[in-house]
Amino acid sequence: MDFSFTEEQTLLRNMVQSFVQDNYDFDSRMKIVRSDEGMSREIWGQFAELGLLAAPFSEEMGGLDGGPIETMVIMEELGRGLVVEPYLPTVVLCGGILNRHGSDAQKEAHLAGIIGGEDIWALAYSEPQSRFNPADVLTSAKADGDGYVLNGTKAVVAAAPWANKLIVSARISGDQRDSDGLGLFIVEKSADGVSTQDYPTVDGNRASEVTLENVAVGADALVGAAGNGLALLEEALDYGIGAVCAEAIGHMKCLNDATVEYCKTRKQFGVPIGSFQVLQHRMVDMFMEYEQSVSMTYMVNMKLSDGEAERKKAAAGAKVQIGKSGRFVGQEAVQLHGGMGMTEELNVGHYFKRLTVIDTQFGNVDHHLKRFAAA
């Protein structure tokens, strides 16, 4: 049992931290968010140069052989900077699926583009009716000669406006919510029949509604075995949970520090408001929520590579914790900052908005409580 970081992990953290500090202060971030594209290709290229995009991949593929703990360290630091560039969908979600389940040919074809920063990926798994159930899939994949033809609509696909490649879940067989019969397909966004409606999301990111109309893909587009897509997808989403938990503790840490600092300096009735016990205890509660969230973030990232049952329970439990704590810390930080907390100008509200989206991302508290209770 060991809770310490290796020297390499600490170096990695320091590197990401100083990169974010030097290149991604709040003003720069807001310029990027408000730009036409909504992300910075330049920053993305620098991520590639720093090796961040290579972190979880095997050395023989040109990666750095990192695991969930390395991803956790990176995501926490990206969270502190409220970084919008699509590390999660490209590297953690899609890269993770390809790395764990792609054929040699698929890895050969796609990982280099991720590592080099040329490609951006989005995971198109949710649908307008599916809410948080990844098995609820109406998008169809009909066998056609050697390949498949895809039809359907994918909802709120994070980073899809920036992506040139998608992984799409589609039903090869079975009924709408069957756990068998799904496939995960690699789809070029430029393929005939793919159209998107792009929009910003409340947290400063971008997403799309993705429509697939008779999109023809080859047999080599299918990742893993036909019909087994749900297992791969659920695993990827749990890895995603490990990553957003880390991102969220980065947010919470910044919010707590900012709130304590503000309450020490802001005066009312002639004294710093931080001298009021009623506010002190609220900040202590924020601090405890943060510490408990850190614990659950470490826990889930240590258990992601365990067996399926362990992994699911760990991910569900961690997501409940982060959902609740993130909402609590975000709301309290705004409240304790008073009117300032309501302004677009201050970063506090932006952390709060990202934490609010994270609560829903990959399933909210109620969803994961149910999942935890059933596990």
Partner: protein
């Protein structure tokens, strides 16, 4: 970073588990704390003392086990999952560390063996009617008269003082300066003339706490620990130690297992309560909070094993640990439904007492009411929040 135990730790787990299974007194398996006699309280303590395992938290030179942090964690887990009655905290957890840290050689030779063997039962004379969370407001007075202190005052909430041979006591030896100055740490023989112990019956119907009245109690001056008027440092040191073991994670895990068993046996509309979505989600929430606390404690232990002592962060363990304990007892009471209401305190039961309702409902509401104390004792949870605000957040 990984959560696996090393093979030698798993061997250790097997060793302590079989020791507990083979040596734990049969008549105390599953016993309720409220029913215990003085001998019962000490039975397991004395077995552990013979084995040399009664004070794992002490340094080896004073009678500790020399176990690693991980081994101590495993020991606590195994003890809890078996449901042992842990050695009383007053000697092992509270006074012992004070004596080997602040006591002189004579005091160490005299006090520590009695704590380890279980021969001397200690109680804690801290709180007073006017000094609870604001402990420094204590008024019990000790005046030096020759080579004796003469003690006059009134202690309250003194846990299990009815069994105690000795009391470690905070007394006021000076009223100069700040309230924290002028406090001294004194060891008092409970058989000294002038001491009266009066029971306090709590809302669960039990007799656990007492009032202790001290009238012209004469205490040899050599029973002073540390310097006169400098007892506040010792008092705080003791409270810090008191907090660190208080999370009670392993025991809460066991209590949740029991809660789940009860919820499986109780029916709602003919189906197990455990399968009722609303109730099972309450249990799930509790378990998630407990998992988070478990990892917070492991993180604290890990930094402790690197030589960083339990910091003010241990206040988190107290607050969260007791909140969870209280919620478990609350849900357990909810789970048994109507049979939470029958109320026949231990003290009122005659020889012909017939149990009422299912066995698992026995005592659950008493336990619920009893556990309301946990957020009050050991420095109330509000005081713990003050500590974090000041020491961690710098407010």
């Amino acid at each position: 970073m990984d959560i696996e135990f090393a093979p030698q730790d798993e061997d250790f787990r097997a060793e302590v588990r079989s020791f507990i299974e083979e040596n734990y007194p049969k008549h105390l398996v599953g016993a309720d704390r409220g029913d215990l006699s003085k001998e019962d309280f000490l039975a397991w303590h004395k077995i552990l003392a013979k084995k040399g395992w009664v004070a794992p938290s002490w340094p080896e030179e004073f009678g500790g086990t020399g176990w690693t942090v991980t081994q101590k964690y495993i020991w606590n887990e195994e003890s809890a999952s078996f449901g042992t009655i842990p050695p009383l905290p007053f000697g092992i957890g509270m006074l012992g560390p004070v004596i080997y840290t602040f006591g002189n050689q004579e005091q160490q030779d005299w006090v520590l063996p009695g704590i380890l063997s279980g021969e001397t039962w200690w109680c804690q004379g801290y709180s007073e009617p006017g000094a609870g969370s604001d402990l420094a407001g204590l008024k019990t007075k000790a005046e030096l008269d020759g080579d004796e202190y003469v003690v006059n005052g009134h202690k309250i909430w003194t846990t299990l003082a009815q069994h105690a041979d000795w009391m470690f006591c905070l007394v006021r030896t000076s009223s100069e300066g700040k309230p924290q100055e002028g406090i001294s740490f004194l060891l008092i023989d409970m058989n000294t003339p002038g001491i009266e112990v009066k029971p306090i019956i709590t809302i669960d119907g039990g007799h656990e706490v007492n009032e202790v009245f001290l009238t012209d109690v004469r205490v040899p001056a050599k029973n002073l620990v540390g310097e006169q008027d400098k007892g506040w440092t010792i008092a705080k040191f003791l409270l810090g130690n008191e907090r660190s073991g208080i999370a009670g994670v392993a025991r809460s895990k066991k209590a949740i297992d029991r809660l789940r068993d009860i919820a499986r046996a109780e029916l709602e509309d003919g189906k197990p309560l455990l399968d009722c979505g609303a109730f099972s989600r309450k249990i799930a929430e509790l378990e998630i909070d407990l998992t988070a606390l478990e990892y917070t404690e492991l993180r604290t232990l890990a930094s402790e094993s690197k030589g960083q002592g339990p910091g003010p962060e241990s206040s988190i363990l107290k607050i969260k640990g007791t909140e969870i304990q209280q919620r478990i007892t609350e849900l357990t009471m909810e789970a048994v439904g109507n049979y939470a209401s029958p109320w026949v305190p231990q003290l009122d039961r005659g020889d012909n007492y017939l149990a009422i309702g299912p066995e698992h409902a026995e005592g659950v509401s008493q336990t619920y009411f009893n556990n309301r104390k946990t957020s009050i004792y050991g420095g109330s949870n509000e005081i713990q929040r003050n500590i974090i605000a000041k020491m961690v957040l710098g407010l």
